[in-house]
């Protein structure tokens, strides 16, 4: 995201540069020559990664080429359009909530001073620790017909069912609410980082040219922050498309639950695969469109002159409005559900998980998060570096394809990996049998390697996106300078890029870690024997109608997620360029 060291590194960029907002043309490649050994290796690594990440998706795709014996006709007649319209409404709603709440709060806490601003600045990230399905459990308990709120309402007013209107939790609206407030921190984080690193010069120039503060936001700050906001909203929407836990619990028929139903309940892999492929295609198109539109208007900061942002002090009604605007998403996404979970945990009698069992669950969860984030970050850096500056369409296409896993429902990835690893295991088993006469059985399936693989496919984009953004912010002039000094590409990576991206790496690793710990469907499908995570345990308790018992593991997921999130908060607070 941002690099605190940027200003400290002496470079060509310290020289006077063209006006703000105008892109710096990249120097043309110095020489064009045939790939050397090194570059061939780079290409091979890249191809291997691409193969690794796309194999499960292709495996799913391949299931689609068969006759679908009538299920399509039935789907089209009955539920298909419900899936589509629900999913579109869900995306629209979540896009609006995350875009407005995320960008709005980010702008408020970066640009203004008001009571509580310093608290909100970091606290607004907290919902990141709260998986959407946990929010779903908490709000179900709180707001359902038999929950405390409605019961109190009936007791106080004497009205009965049907005589009053109350928002239905288990509904499309409920899902929009839960996903929107679980996911807005993605937009908040990225928008805040973008606002934070904008040069005061740009803002001041706009003010001296006669823009009001609102016009400055609209015409300068937002366009400069647009790639960050778009990335944030894209993340949120991809999470929404892939969400399974919350919509399944709310029984909202979405495209994803439709795929699940076709694949698992009616066991029609052909139709399920066709549904999944259509979804992937849709995501791919949206993805490509977003990238293309970003290319059309490329805004870059060109000034390195950072001063502290001038915070306008808000008073009276304006301050109160700002406070309310910050409290609302924080309360909906974190405080209220967390308090509800505590109450549920306190209420539940018996059937609770024992302490040793909880420790075991927490240990497995953290282990998985740690292993997966190391693997994923490594792969992302390798891919990023191999694709860096890749002008070819192929390179860009590769980056996009690799990121598509993020919008792919975990169930689809789970199935894809079962198919891919199953085939690989059969191959290995046959090979070992023929070569050494050993009957190996299953080697990779049912190991942590399988889930780690699943997480890699699913969360590659989470690591790749921010790192790519960070890399893009490192001015090509640095690398050109290093290259002029005869630095090899590995040494440029080690001595220029990685140090500059240190904080982004840290943030990416933490986000991936939290995401992996929260991950539900792929973990459910792929995990080894005697290996349960807090997420799988909570989900199974909730779906077997012991919501109270699910509160404790849910709280632990939140707690485990909080640690990285707090570090993230600190990172965010320190991330003002020139103050590192």
């Amino acid at each position: 995201m941002t690099d605190p060291h940027a200003a400290a590194v002496p470079s060509l960029a310290d020289a006077p540069l063209p006006a703000v907002g105008v892109s710096v043309a990249r120097l043309p490649p110095m020489t064009r020559r045939l790939p050397t050994g090194r570059e061939a290796i780079r290409f091979a690594v890249c191809a291997a990664l691409l193969l690794l990440i796309t194999t499960p998706l292709v495996a799913v795709f391949a299931q689609g080429f068969a006759a679908a014996d009538g299920l399509w006709a039935h789907l089209l007649q009955t539920v298909f359009w419900t899936y589509v319209s629900n999913t579109l409404m869900l995306c629209l709603g979540v896009g609006l909530i995350t875009g407005i709440a995320g960008t709005g709060t980010a702008w408020l806490v970066t640009m203004f001073r008001f009571p509580g601003r310093q608290l909100f600045e970091w606290a607004l990230v907290l919902p990141l620790a709260m998986p959407a399905y946990v929010l779903a459990y908490a709000y179900t308990d709180l707001l359902q017909f038999t929950g405390p709120v409605q019961t109190l309402l009936r007791q106080l007013t004497g009205v009965r069912y049907g005589e009053y209107w109350f928002p239905q939790v288990h509904s499309l609206g409920g899902a929009v609410f839960v996903l929107g407030f679980a996911l807005y921190p993605y937009v908040y984080l990225l928008a805040r980082a973008a606002f934070n690193e904008q040069s005061v010069c740009a803002l001041e120039v706009s003010r001296t040219l006669g823009c009001s503060p609102a016009a400055t936001l609209w015409r300068v700050a937002l366009p400069l922050a647009r790639p960050a906001i778009a990335t944030g909203v894209t993340f949120a929407l991809m999470e929404t498309l892939a969400d399974f836990g919350a919509v399944k619990y709310f029984e909202v028929p979405t495209y994803t639950t439709g795929i699940y139903r076709a694949w698992f309940a009616t066991a029609n892999p052909t139709v399920a695969s066709q549904l999944a492929s259509a979804l992937l295609l849709f995501v791919f198109v949206v993805f490509a469109a977003e990238r293309l539109s970003r290319r059309a208007g490329r805004h870059r900061h060109t000034s390195n002159r950072y001063r502290s942002l001038r915070h306008d002090r808000l008073r009276g009604i304006a301050a109160a409005a700002a406070i309310v605007a910050c409290i609302l998403p924080l309360a909906c996404g974190f405080v209220l559900p967390a308090a509800t979970l505590f109450a549920m945990a306190a209420h539940s009698g018996g059937d609770l998980l024992s302490t040793p069992r909880l420790i075991e669950l927490a240990r497995d969860t953290v282990l998985l998060g740690a292993i997966a984030s190391v693997v994923i970050i490594t792969c992302a850096v390798v891919a990023l570096y191999a694709l860096r500056g890749g002008r070819s369409l192929l390179a860009r296409l590769a980056a996009m394809v690799c990121s598509i896993g993020y919008a792919t429902p975990g169930v689809v990835i789970g199935i894809g990996i079962l198919i891919a690893i199953g085939a690989l295991d059969r191959l290995l088993a046959t090979g070992l049998q023929q070569a050494f006469g050993i009957s190996a059985g299953m080697l990779l399936g049912g190991t942590l390697a399988a889930i780690t693989y699943g997480c890699l496919v699913r969360f590659f984009a989470v690591a790749y996106g921010p790192l790519e953004a960070a890399m893009a912010k490192i001015k090509p002039s640095y690398e050109d300078a290093a290259r002029l000094l005869r630095g090899s590409s590995t040494s440029v990576l080690r001595h220029v890029h990685l140090p500059l991206m240190r904080s982004s790496l840290m943030i990416a690793a933490l986000i991936v870690c939290v995401d992996v710990m929260k991950e539900l469907p792929a973990t459910m499908i792929l995990r080894p024997f005697n290996f349960d995570t807090l997420a799988t345990e909570a989900f199974q308790l909730a779906t077997t109608e012991r919501l109270d018992a699910a509160a404790v593991p849910s709280l632990l997921i939140v707690a485990a997620g909080l640690l990285p999130v707090i570090l993230l908060c600190r990172e965010v607070r320190r991330s003002r360029p020139g103050q590192g």
Partner: protein, 341 residues
């Protein structure tokens, strides 16, 4: 460089270790879709008795079945346990199970609670009952499942989603009793009579009756038993004014579903798997199903949970689950057609 390689090997070892551990000899691998936090007691009991180590993956039955299918011949699964007959039959259709001939199993499990070819065996059974409010429903109003579609129940019925396996099982049985057209008409009647669109699980329907949202809830018996047998005052407050009724399907008796298990065709530890099934039907394990899970034990020698015993005996529909489960695809289509969401 050497240090880095060591690190890499350590990582690889950490990732692959569970697989190696699972390859040890005297053990049994269970794919389990029953989910109770206290299930470990069952497995510990088995290990204590036989010395056989138990490995478990618990997940949704559909997920486990897909996993076995994709793993193919290499699947480490020895036993598949599900909580729905429909899924057992489905697994059998997919050629996942191998028949087991065990005098103990055949003697303990009544013929209507196991597969005709002994591919799977019921471990415990659950009745699909009615839970009603004692002040708003006269017991004489209640008779059959079919009667719930009568206009007399308009706006009074609470029932969960039609995609749920327990409702699919019931619908499959209604198809068997009344034919496809009859079942579809019944489904339409139920949808018309719903107090609200399907929402939540069986427990939520029971709670909604207590809160006055509707009068009669369709539920598996143990959800109500769990509340009735609970020491929690909140749960006691819910069940205080509620009563249970065992409806009949046509005149055959109450629809029952099973929690059951089969030995996987590709099992590497087949003997251990059979011993596990035999253990699960032993009085010791069956008492666990009865006491902790509030299910009806398949082993007739095991006493009922006091909560269930208090409800008295009931006439069960002896239709083999294999029959109604075979109707589940048709049942799912009917649910979609009648709008039972």
């Amino acid at each position: 460089m050497a240090g880095r390689l060591r690190g890499l090997f350590a990582l690889l070892a950490a990732i692959l270790l569970p697989a190696l551990a699972a390859a040890a000899s005297n053990e049994v691998n269970i794919y389990n879709s029953r989910h109770y936090t206290t299930d470990t007691r069952l497995w510990e009991g088995f290990t204590a008795k036989t010395g056989i180590k138990v490995n478990v993956i618990s997940a949704d039955h559909d997920q486990l079945i897909q996993r076995i299918l994709q793993e193919g011949e290499n699947s480490p699964a020895d036993v598949l346990i599900t909580v729905d007959a429909g899924r057992l039959v489905f697994a059998a259709d997919k050629n996942i199970f191998a028949p087991v001939s065990s005098p103990i199993l055949e003697k303990t499990v009544p013929a209507n609670l196991r597969d005709p070819k002994n591919l799977w065996f019921g471990l415990a059974y659950r009745a699909r009952i009615l839970v009603y409010h004692k002040d708003r429903v006269v017991p004489s109003e209640l008779s059959t499942y079919e009667a719930l579609a009568d206009p007399a129940f308009k706006g009074r019925i609470l029932v969960r989603s039609g995609t749920n396996t327990y409702n699919l099982g019931l619908m499959g049985a209604v198809i068997d009793a009344d034919g496809v057209a009859g079942a579809e008409a019944w489904g339409r009647g139920i949808v018309t009579n719903m107090a609200r669109p399907p929402e939540g699980g069986d427990t939520d329907q029971i709670k909604a009756v207590a809160a006055g949202l509707g009068d009669v809830a369709l539920s598996n018996h143990y959800y109500f038993a769990r509340l009735a047998g609970s020491a929690n005052p909140d749960d006691q407050a819910i069940v205080r004014n509620l009563r249970v009724f065992f409806p009949s399907l046509d005149d055959r008796g109450t629809h029952i579903n099973i929690s059951g298990a089969g030995v996987v065709r590709t099992a590497k530890n087949r003997d251990n798997a059979i011993r596990l099934l035999e253990y699960l039907l032993s009085p010791e394990a069956q008492a666990y199903f009865a006491d902790v899970a509030f299910e009806y034990p398949v082993n007739a020698a095991v006493p009922l949970n006091p909560t269930l015993a208090a409800w008295g005996p009931f006439k069960q529909d002896r239709l083999n689950p294999a029959v109604y489960a075979a109707n589940s695809a048709e049942a799912a289509n009917i649910m979609d057609r009648v709008g039972w969401k």
